[in-house]
Symmetry: C2
């Protein structure tokens, strides 16, 4: 162990020392650049300010030697900011994604003004400090640091900064389709999301898909006395809950025929990676006050395998996220304790999908399930969904990213086969036919999407070294 650490330290000093030195001498300038960027309000619906952000970012890219222009979507919405830096002789192109828009703010919940960045106790506080303006500024600093140390990128670099990620990326699909050639690359690196709660780096190779539906069962046209009519009038709560219960049991096992049909098999490497992630089950359970389930409880296994259902040890959170799931998220009908049969009852389901499940096929499968079980009078309102995406762990691109992150940080990153949450990365995978990985650099306690968003400056400094490594060693 000691020996390996020493070897890494030597490798680190050879390639990263000059980057670190550059950063140390330029911290004030880098922070000033971030501060100026953060001061421009960036809620996606605030069109004027979003355009100001885009122009600011365009100038920033040019200032750091990157040829830049705006990419508009044919369907409208905020522009994406695109930059390109060609490397003479390079045969590969790697694209870096981040978004420059931020979540809406409720200033009354903030301790400081969300658009007046301020450094307190080694963190800078402002909307988008971590999500994602900090990472964008770190990329620019990494380019400067490489140049200052007389090093060149090893590949052609492309930068793609989206302007409506926090608003649902409504126009992204059309934008990617239109600018397919411009955005062609051999790999995409997503600079979004937080590092692991332990502070360790994590490299993430997938996200789940998602599709949502609201079910509504109807009873009598108005609420009826449950004594006078309860045996006779159809009860919408009873219809609804029986429809829901036909789809998954209390432990989470999915009972919809065909739901798992398209599930891509989890590879041995993915399973091993999931099992190798830090075991914080006990800590999570304590923090959420959740009892440890009895063996077999709460187990939906990635790929139905005989015997697995009884294997509590393999049903940790990371391994479960490799599987699709049926989540009941809301239910509402009648009034608790009021003796009436209500006129209707509704519930929402959030289906989380894995590769290669398709939202439109899940929709058809669910509708067929309800028809087959006689719930023809339950109305369904589907929300638009999108597919999952997952990059194989053993691609050369995947291995290179892991190697470089390890080298620049001096520690093996956690290998996360998939996030449980959803991002529309399938758009990149399916439109651009390019593998992707997610390399989060910011602190996990950054209050992303909430009040008092912040970025730990030490994370900003380390990000510069990681990006410099990715730019120059891929």
């Amino acid at each position: 162990m000691k020996r390996i650490a020493l070897v890494l330290l030597v490798a680190l000093s050879a390639s990263a020392n000059d980057i670190r030195e550059y950063r140390k001498q330029n911290e004030a300038r880098i922070l000033a650049e971030l501060t100026e960027f953060l001061a421009i309000p960036n809620v996606a619906s605030d069109e004027a300010n979003i355009r100001r952000n885009a122009q600011h970012l365009l100038a920033m890219l040019e200032r750091h030697g990157v040829a830049a222009r705006l990419l508009e979507s044919p369907s409208g919405g905020p522009p994406a900011v695109f930059g390109e830096l060609r490397t003479p002789g390079a045969t590969k192109t790697i694209a870096f994604y981040a978004h420059y828009d931020g979540q809406p703010v409720d200033p009354s919940e903030w301790k400081t003004d969300p658009w007046k960045p301020v450094v307190i106790d080694g963190r800078i506080y402002a909307r988008s400090a971590s999500d994602d303006k900090g990472p964008i500024v770190a990329m620019m600093a990494a380019l400067d640091a490489l140049r200052a140390s007389k090093r060149s990128p090893s590949v052609n670099l492309k930068f793609f900064f989206e302007g409506e990620e926090e608003a649902g990326s409504e126009h992204l699909g059309a934008l990617l389709g239109k600018h397919k050639e411009t955005l062609a690359a051999d790999g995409w690196i997503f600079c979004d999301g937080p590092r692991h709660q332990s502070g360790a780096m994590q490299v993430v190779f997938g996200v789940r898909g998602t599709v949502g539906v609201t079910l509504t069962a109807t009873g009598p046209s108005r609420a009826l006395h449950s004594g006078h009519y309860g045996n006779w009038a159809p009860n919408p709560i009873a219809i609804l809950i029986n429809a829901l219960a036909s789809m998954r049991d209390a432990e989470g096992n999915v009972k919809i025929a065909g739901f798992h049909d398209d599930v891509r098999a989890v590879t041995a490497a993915e399973r091993a990676a999931a099992n190798a992630l830090p075991d914080n089950e006990e800590e999570l359970r304590r923090s959420f006050a959740i009892a440890k389930p009895e063996c077999g409880g709460q187990a939906i296994l990635p790929v139905p395998e005989k015997g697995d259902r009884q294997d509590c040890l393999s049903s940790t959170l990371p391994s479960r996220l490799l599987a699709p799931s049926v989540n009941f998220t809301g239910i509402r009908g009648g009034t608790i304790g009021v003796n009436a049969i209500p006129a209707e009852a509704s519930a929402s389901i959030d289906f989380r999908l894995v590769p290669d499940q398709k939202p439109e096929r899940i929709r058809a499968i669910v509708e067929e399930h309800l028809r087959k079980h006689g719930f023809t009078n339950v109305k369904l309102a589907w929300a638009d969904g999108y597919a999952a995406a997952r990059t194989p762990l053993d691609l050369p691109f995947s291995r290179s990213v892991l190697r470089i992150v390890e080298k620049t940080t001096g520690a093996k990153p956690l290998v996360v086969p998939t996030f449980g949450g959803s991002l529309p990365l399938y758009l990149f995978e399916q439109t651009l036919h390019t593998p992707f990985v997610i390399v989060p650099v910011v602190n996990s306690d950054n209050n992303q999407h909430a009040a008092n968003e912040n970025l730990r400056l030490q994370n900003l400094w380390e990000a510069i070294e990681i990006y410099a490594g990715l730019f120059s060693e891929l």
Copy 2:
């Protein structure tokens, strides 16, 4: 048919003509007495006014020749007003029940002042006009009319007017227990509730019992992102709906082992009476926009009998009310369309019981059912309930009441084996060991419990003839 009607008409004219004549000559006086009574606000929680009502009623009874006094409950609450009129030589005692308190009012919803009675288009509008001050005044007028025509009651009469029926009769059990001897009778007649929607008289021989429970399933201590934790954290909506679905299916069939164990067999007479009630299924379905279920749908049969489940013709509303039922009345958890696993979810069940189901045994059976099905983490909060009550149709008392109502009105009344709703009549049955029947006299469109409560004057006049018949011919 014609012959029978003629015979009835003759009988009617012999005994009821003088009652009707008396009424016709005294309408203004009777109406004045009702108006004065209705002008005293009578919400059970309005202690001062409830006492004013009781004193007013005491004086009214005395004025009409009935020895009267207040009966207090040892546990507190409004007093009951008790009156007694002995008949020399009579061997039987019949008690008449009504309540003098009324539902709370929201004056903004009333077209006229609820405490300023006014006659419009042949109806008197005021709170309690129908429920039950009108019937009380009709009883007093019936006593006067008998006296004016030189006739005596055929039995000893007792009057029991409750002061907190609309507030849940909380102190009634203790009051009946304390005044058991005072209230001893050979039969009770309840002068509460409306006539059938068709306008026909109905005599009702039972009410269902009721017991309610609220179930709460808990998940994580705070709402968790359904993407990141949905496969892993227990989902309280899933636990709750699976617990509920284990108890009854979408069609209303009860799946709780032992639930029907204590159900008293429905007699052939009760079943025949239920089947003989007017068939207004189509009209009700149209009015509530309910589709006719397929054969077998929504069928919970009174007594499990082979083959009955497929017999749509026998599953009319009245026949279904002879059975107990499990009604889901409210459900709530999470937020529709928000992708989170909520911290908890709750639902309420209204169990309607038939003789001889006991609320405390239903409670034990439900708890055992949930335990057996593994829902040990669902918390239950039971409300106090009470048992059903039903008087056999073939008791001499039952037959006499039916005969007298037919004779005084000139038409066979509808024989209703039980109401679907619940009243604590078991308290009378169990404490006083006396059979009861309900003889509603007021119009069914009286807006009972709602704004613009009213009593059709023609119903008031007919009530006087019916009560005179019951007083003098039982």
